[in-house]
């Protein structure tokens, strides 16, 4: 009989230090480095040059206006979709909701490209149907309004999701009680549902604003050709024209973005905190109101909006990708798959981009899985405070705009690594590090919530059966959280594959990603190649989303981002 004593919780001694080390490396270190550089350059007066630069103030103003108007567009579209699809007897809800969510998962630069292909004098689609404006007339989207509109479309799903979550959680018996006490459907909507759903609405708006502030793809494609800069594109431009004050400038600029984002996130947190009343009463399937005569009209309107914001732009994208040469009219005879052959088979730049993006995304998705399974376990087994701290540290790099993290990584890795003496700057490894840091939260959330939902006695029974930590992880815990782990892998892969903002700053020759390749092709005028690549990316997104839909029933609530 063994007489030794060991500590009781039987988690390996390295587990907790390991989790803390990972969090330190991926979250505290890069952001801390950014903060230190930013503060130091402020103290040394490095900000003076920047602050007296009118370009900065213009960019700040552009960021605020595009983000604000974009938010209004998101609120308008997302709010109407959420109200109509959640509360009323619309037919085809699933497909409407699924299609409406697509813009959120499609990379912003692809959204921008498809709209550019839809409007303006050189639109293949408009020319094919003979409606293109005369050559030489301006592209209407290369403007503040155009940027705001597209930001609004891109992030409308955020408002939709937040409001829908609020509506679905409404106490159903409260609504029924109001109906019984004689209130008409309209009064119930006005007096009960909308006031209760307001926090979700406000939170969605705040999220959309934060997302707009950090968006890079849309203002890069629509703004840079017209010399309209926002803060993220200004960072990109400063970085491209590298000079002695670049590090100081970009650290201050990304600090500014971080501040704007944190302000938005705080507002979101504030409004959501008031939602505790939701627990009162049975919530469940929200009462569905009859639209009666208005139903057909509403359905037509919803489909029209989808046609405008999704189907037409995508059709334009496909048209551009099939166009024989830039500007030649497209019809069934002139259509060619040349562009696809080019990007898939001939151009080494795009082939490298495919390899890089898929390799990086797979490595990130599976590498993070190893980390987040352990981290999720620790989160589920520790006290509330510690779990909140781990969650927050993992969330911050993801919540902050990608451009901020990219700058942080540049500052962190500009010098060679201290012990090894080699520099990963300009290699694929800096991208991998940035992806790990950026998408840690994406991977952790589903896994941690799956661990939290597990009955702890399932693990305790395994302990009494004699299984040590590794054994019960392998035999009991991991199989039980497998669906969530699958979702985490698909989500990280999906987001990483479409990523542009981080890689736009961190790539160099040979390490370009798909997002960078699309942007560069467009920048160099190969619009049809950029479109073909975009169509392929959209196809990939749709396939991944379908995969997640298939898994959805076996996942904890809230894992699939477009389901609530």
């Amino acid at each position: 009989m063994p007489r030794f004593l060991t500590l009781g919780n039987s988690q390996p001694r390295w587990l907790f230090p390991f989790v803390l080390t990972v969090l330190f490396l991926l979250s505290v270190l890069p952001l801390g480095r950014l903060a230190v550089t930013g503060i130091l350059s402020l103290v040394r007066g490095g900000g003076d040059g920047l602050l007296s630069d009118p370009g900065l103030w213009a960019a700040l103003w552009n960021t605020l206006t595009t983000s604000f108007y974009g938010m209004l567009v998101s609120v308008l579209i997302g709010g109407s979709f959420a109200l109509l699809l959640t509360l009323f007897d619309i037919r085809g809800k699933w497909i409407l909701g699924f299609l409406f969510m697509l813009p959120m998962m499609i990379p912003p630069q692809v959204t921008a490209l498809s709209w550019v292909g839809l409007t303006g004098p050189s639109s293949t689609l408009l020319k094919a149907i003979g409606m293109a404006p005369p050559l030489g007339s301006p592209q209407p989207l290369y403007s503040i309004g155009g940027i705001a509109l597209l930001l609004g479309v891109q992030n409308a799903p955020l408002v939709y999701l937040a409001l829908r979550a609020g509506l679905l959680a409404l106490p159903r018996d409260g609504i029924e009680a109001a109906r019984l006490s004689g209130a008409s459907a309209l009064q119930v909507l006005r007096d009960i549902i909308l006031p209760l759903a307001l926090p979700g609405f406000a939170a969605g708006a705040a999220m959309a604003f934060v997302s707009n502030v950090g968006n890079f793809g849309i203002p890069a494609i629509l703004g840079i050709p017209a010399s309209i800069y926002t803060l993220p594109t200004l960072i990109y431009a400063k970085f491209a024209s590298f000079g002695p004050s670049t590090f100081a400038d970009i650290s201050l600029l990304s600090g500014l973005i971080a501040l704007l984002s944190v302000a938005g996130l705080l507002i979101e947190e504030r409004v959501l905190r008031g939602r505790d009343y939701r627990i009162i009463g049975l919530s469940g399937r929200t009462a569905v109101f009859q639209l009666k005569g208005w139903r057909a009209v509403s359905e037509i309107l919803l489909w029209l909006v989808l046609l405008l914001i999704l189907i037409l732009p995508f059709a334009a994208l496909v048209a551009s990708s099939l166009a024989p040469a830039y500007g030649v009219p497209l019809n069934l005879k002139t259509a060619t798959t040349h562009a696809y052959e080019e990007v898939l088979l001939r151009q080494s730049v795009t082939q490298t981009a495919f390899r890089n993006s898929i390799g990086l995304s797979l490595a990130t998705a599976f590498g993070l899985l190893l980390v987040t399974v352990l981290m999720g376990y620790v989160v589920a087994r520790s006290g509330r405070r510690l779990a909140a701290l781990i969650g927050a540290l993992a969330d911050i790099p993801y919540a902050l705009p990608g451009i901020v993290l990219a700058v942080a990584c540049i500052l962190l890795f500009a010098a060679p690594l201290p012990v090894f003496g080699v520099s990963i700057y300009g290699t694929i490894w800096i991208l991998l590090f940035a992806y790990f840091s950026s998408f840690l939260a994406v991977s952790l959330r589903p896994i941690a919530s799956a661990f939290r939902q597990l009955d702890p006695s399932l693990e305790e029974a395994a302990r009494l059966a004699g299984a040590g930590f590794a054994r019960r992880m392998r035999d009991i815990l991991v199989p039980l959280i497998a669906p969530a782990a699958g979702a985490a892998v698909i989500l990280v892969f999906l987001i990483a594959c479409n990523e542009l903002t981080v890689s736009a700053l961190l790539w160099s020759a040979g390490t370009q990603t798909l997002g960078v390749a699309i942007y560069n092709l467009d920048d160099s005028g190969s619009f049809n190649l950029a479109s073909a690549l975009s169509v392929l990316v959209v196809g990939m997104v749709v396939v991944m989303m379908f995969l997640l839909e298939l898994l959805a029933n076996r996942l904890p609530k809230g894992v699939v981002p477009w389901r609530s």
């Binding site: 060991t6 500590l7 039987s10 029974a461 009494l464 059966a465 004699g466 039980l480």
Partner: protein, 341 residues
């Protein structure tokens, strides 16, 4: 194997009030101890300390000579050779019934053949051999419970812990499962600790009953003993549905008194010392020379009527009656015997 010893065991979760204080207990090898107490009194916490899921904040646990836990260190559950039936059964949903039962053997590295034989034996013992390939989700509550028991059976554990295993079952299944537990105890020869808040269950199953309240151990004794001689008001209230009266009691007298000796206690004596006295309903019988009481409530239970009676000084008694009495009736009863707590 050896006896399980809890020595001054305490647990404080830092919530201001300790969950368990100073529990000392010896459970003889092969004994069947029922840990009885109201909900929230710390039974589960004691059980989890024995299993090794919680570390005591004071005291020690021994299995014979083997020190399982003290304040500084403890043997982890995976090394204790104990087994537990959880209130939620804790079956692994992704494994078949046979795999659930065989998992402890797999961890111990038994060969496939030896494992299959033991799994079959264990499933036969709980009469589930026909269900070996099912998933736990396809079983009823009682069947899941029996799978959990079979999982305990396979490894010949030194100690088997059961945390309110019948709380989620309906009344009919409970009786059947009690029988299964008794068989299980006889067959395995393991020391068993059975947590429950139901005194009838505890009495029916255990060789010893330990009563807890508010984190403290109040009394340990065999069922007949604890039924006949409960110590103190709380134990008296938990065991045997009696009424507790406050009566003047002869200071030096016996703790058990019968009617003639008891009768003077019902004459009001201002200033006399009052003792807690347990009167069980079956000891209250109708008799014309007895106390004058009013029927306060009468509930027909099928085989008899359960009555609540009010004494002249407003204390209440419980009694059974075979004939119908109406609420508000005045009747006369004698108390055949009573026990000073």
């Amino acid at each position: 194997m050896a006896q399980l010893i809890l020595n001054h065991l305490s647990k404080d979760f830092g919530t201001g009030k300790p969950a368990v204080t100073g529990v000392s207990l010896k459970i003889r090898e092969g004994g069947f101890l029922a840990l009885l107490g109201p909900s929230g009194c710390g039974k589960t916490t004691v059980l989890r300390m024995i299993a090794g899921f919680e570390q005591p904040s004071d005291g020690e646990i021994f299995l014979g000579e083997w020190r399982l836990a003290d304040v500084n260190a403890m043997v982890p559950p995976e090394k204790r050779n104990m087994a537990m039936v959880f209130q939620s059964y804790a079956l692994w949903p992704h494994m078949s019934v046979a795999d659930n039962v065989g998992y402890p053997l797999k961890v111990r590295g038994l060969s496939r053949d030896a494992r299959d034989r033991k799994i079959r034996e264990a499933l036969e013992a709980v009469r589930l051999d026909a269900y070996a390939d099912r998933r736990p989700a396809d079983l009823s509550g009682g069947q899941r419970q029996r799978v959990a028991l079979a999982r305990c059976l396979v490894t010949d554990p030194d100690v088997v812990l059961l945390d309110e295993p019948l709380a989620n079952l309906d009344r009919h299944l409970r009786q059947e499962m009690e029988e299964t537990f008794r068989e299980f105890h006889a067959r395995s020869g393991a020391t068993m600790i059975y947590v429950t808040h139901d005194q009838a269950e505890a009495m029916a199953l255990a060789t010893d009953v330990a009563v807890m309240a508010e984190g403290k151990l109040l009394q340990v004794a065999p069922p007949q003993e604890i039924y006949a001689r409960p110590e103190g008001r709380i134990v008296g209230g938990l065991i045997g549905q009696g009424a507790i009266l406050k009566l003047p009691w002869p200071v030096s007298g016996d703790r058990a008194l019968e009617w003639p000796a008891l009768q003077p206690s019902f004459v009001p004596k201002p200033g006399a010392h009052l003792a807690d006295v347990l009167v069980r309903p079956q000891d209250v019988v109708f008799s014309d020379e007895g106390l004058d009481v009013v029927v306060e409530a009468a509930v027909f239970e099928g085989e008899r009527h359960a009555l609540r009676l009010r004494l002249a000084d407003d204390q209440t008694l419980r009694a059974f009656s075979r004939r119908t009495v109406a609420v508000g009736d005045r009747i006369r009863v004698v108390i055949r015997s009573a026990w000073r707590l």
